[in-house]
């Protein structure tokens, strides 16, 4: 039978494997991009990445603005101290501290600024900064409090240093010899910052800082790209502001991941491993988001000019770099072994659902079987009833037929009898009177009847 042909663009590999002999020439590699972007488990992540891209676009610009403001403030302080030539080396030093210790630069810069103002040279300020970080990590005091105490100590007031809980000799404190004081602090708290950074909490901090730096860098690139087209900046900011409404959901999810990781860091190694992977995965999603946002930005900025297009391309390169970094971090998360726990939990739930479905199906089969048996019994009963009725009706028909036959036979006999009577009547009318014949007939009749009265022939005629 001739059929209509329907040509589908694609089909699932497993199900239609046997029916593709005619159309196998095609895209075999397409499944990679589909799976990496669109698998059911990642549909939520894709949407999350899309919304996160919006948030990064907004936060990145804001972070870049704040970072630039803080950097400008420190640079001005150094310039005022006659240390303008050290602005970039100080920035590099602060960046190295940020990456190695996981402390945000917006916390390090004010601290360095305070120390630089009290000390007056960057070399000593660098050492003091390092010491302050060790004391803060070892004593549990905030970096701000430690830096303030050190700064005052360099200014001549060592009272604050005694409240650090460092056990500094009172004589040394009263002497005001900062070299001796700082040496004693270094002897007590030396290396504490590095130790803190190597803990799980420290690792998470470093990851978070790295992600924040990516956000800042994106914002920097974005702003630089818009620098020569200032009249469009406001329009773009307004449009990004309109998109902020979509960013809340993923912003919350991301924000929950970080504090949750920070809290669970003190509980168990396994929990920290899982949450580290969650943060890393969030970072990787951010890489995707940056990619997407960079593409969107490129489309928008493409109409503005070549410089803006270059800025957008730089942003895209940054996004690729972030994606690559996220990928490497995800490899590390795999080595930490977090996937198995999540998969085990998920598979348990799925297995339970499967068991319930199996039992429900089995019950349905049993019920279907019972209904089938009942239907069969009802059918058999109906057939039996039909046969019984048929037999009854057959019997009745037979009985009726018998009656009809008898009646017809009786009618036939009556007709024959009538026929004979009529024949006799005709015969009698047609026969002439003959006394001898009648006499013999009467004798015969009497003889048959066995009665007297039989007359002799002589008496009658001789």
């Amino acid at each position: 039978m001739a059929k209509t042909l329907v040509v589908y663009l694609a089909a699932d590999l497993r199900k239609f494997n046997s029916g593709l002999s005619q159309g196998e020439r095609g895209l075999r590699g397409f499944s990679n991009s589909v799976n990496s972007i669109m698998g059911p488990a990642l549909i939520g992540a894709t949407a999350a990445a899309g919304a996160l891209a919006v948030k990064l676009g907004v936060d990145g610009v804001q972070a870049a603005v704040q970072d630039e403001k803080a950097a400008a403030s420190l640079a001005q302080t150094l310039t005022n101290l006659g240390l303008a030539h050290d602005v970039q080396p100080v920035e590099d030093y602060i960046s190295s501290l940020e990456r190695s210790l996981g402390i945000a630069d917006d916390e390090l810069r004010p601290a360095y600024d305070r120390l630089a103002r009290s000390i007056g040279n960057t070399q000593e300020a660098n050492r003091a900064m390092r010491l302050a970080l060790d004391v803060a990590a070892g004593s549990g005091k905030s970096l701000t409090a430690v830096v303030e105490a050190l700064g005052k100590g360099y200014d001549g007031n060592t009272a604050g240093l005694s409240r650090l809980g460092a056990g500094i000799d009172a004589v040394t404190l009263r002497s005001g010899d900062m070299a001796a004081i700082t040496q004693e602090l270094a002897d007590t708290f030396g290396g504490q910052a590095d130790i803190a950074a190597s803990t799980y909490e420290g690792q998470l901090n470093r990851l978070r800082i790295a992600f924040d730096n990516v956000t800042e860098a994106f914002g920097y690139g974005f702003l630089e790209g818009l620098g020569v087209a200032d009249q469009n900046t406001q329009a773009l900011v307004d449009s990004m502001g309109d998109l902020e409404a979509q960013a809340g959901t993923i912003g919350d999810a991301f924000g929950n991941a970080i504090p949750l990781a920070m809290t669970a860091a003190a509980t168990s190694i396994q929990a920290v491993q899982a949450l580290t992977a969650e943060v890393i995965w969030t970072w990787q999603k951010a890489g995707y988001a940056l990619q997407g946002f960079a593409i969107e930005s490129q489309d928008f900025l493409g109409a503005l000019g070549d410089e803006e297009a270059d800025a957008a391309r730089n942003a895209m390169d940054l996004a690729y770099a972030a994606d690559e970094a996220g990928y490497k971090a995800s490899i590390m998360a795999i080595h930490l072994g977090d996937a198995g726990a999540a998969a085990s939990t998920a598979s348990t739930g799925i297995g339970q659902a499967g068991d319930a479905a199996f039992h429900a199906g089995r019950d349905a089969d049993t019920a279907a079987g019972a209904y089938g048996d009942l239907a069969g019994a009802m059918t058999a009963a109906a057939d039996a009833s039909f046969n019984w009725r048929r037999e009854i009706s057959g019997t009745a028909d037979a009985y009726n037929m018998a009656i009809d036959l008898k009646y017809e036979a009786w009618v036939e006999r009556q007709r024959e009898k009538e026929q004979r009577r009529q024949e006799r009547e005709r015969e009698r009318r047609n026969t002439r009177y003959d006394p001898a014949r009648d006499f013999e007939r009467s004798n015969d009749r009497d003889a048959r009847a066995g009665t007297r009265g039989a007359r002799s022939r002589v008496t009658a005629g001789c």
């Binding site: 059929k3 209509t4 042909l5 159309g23």
Partner: protein, 155 residues
């Protein structure tokens, strides 16, 4: 028995999982995917198949006239019909396969049912339609991305 013959341009591992995941989204998402898929089919698949059908010999024009896009979650086109399309009473469905394969395939030498000689060796017009696939697949994947992003954000 099925009333249509089916053919697939590409195999995608996990495609059924992708389509099944759409059940988690609102119905409007599936409707939007159908609209997008039909649009892709009309712009990319229908012209390609019509051009190919015109190479099907004397029957090509009638066959090309029956090519139309279907409404489905995956872009698809339908070729053929059961109405009388030729003076002898044949429909497009009757001539589609013979015009493609001729006396090859099912009607090869030794087959019980021989192909009418009018079809010759066939023109193989069905097997040569492939140029639209990369662009169509890319466009469909982008549509899926767009729809899921939109509806996940709303949901």
């Amino acid at each position: 028995m099925a009333s249509t013959a089916r053919m697939f341009d590409a195999r995608v591992e996990g495609l059924n999982r992708i389509l099944a995941a759409f059940r988690a989204l609102p119905k409007e998402a599936a409707a939007e995917l159908r609209t997008a898929s039909k649009d892709i089919a009309e712009r990319r698949m229908v012209p390609a198949w019509r051009d190919a059908a015109m190479q099907a010999g004397p029957w090509g024009e009638r066959i090309a006239g029956t090519v139309k896009a279907r409404s489905d979650r995956i872009p698809a086109v339908q070729i053929g019909g059961n109405r009388k399309a030729f003076s002898g009473g044949a429909s497009v469905n009757m001539v589609r396969y013979p015009s493609d394969k001729g006396d090859r395939g099912r009607a090869a030498k030794g087959a019980r049912n021989r192909m009418p000689t009018a079809f010759g060796h066939g023109t193989d017009w069905i097997g040569n339609v492939r140029d639209y696939k990369p662009a169509a697949m890319k466009e469909w994947a982008d549509a899926v991305d767009r729809i899921t992003t939109k509806w996940n954000a709303h949901g």
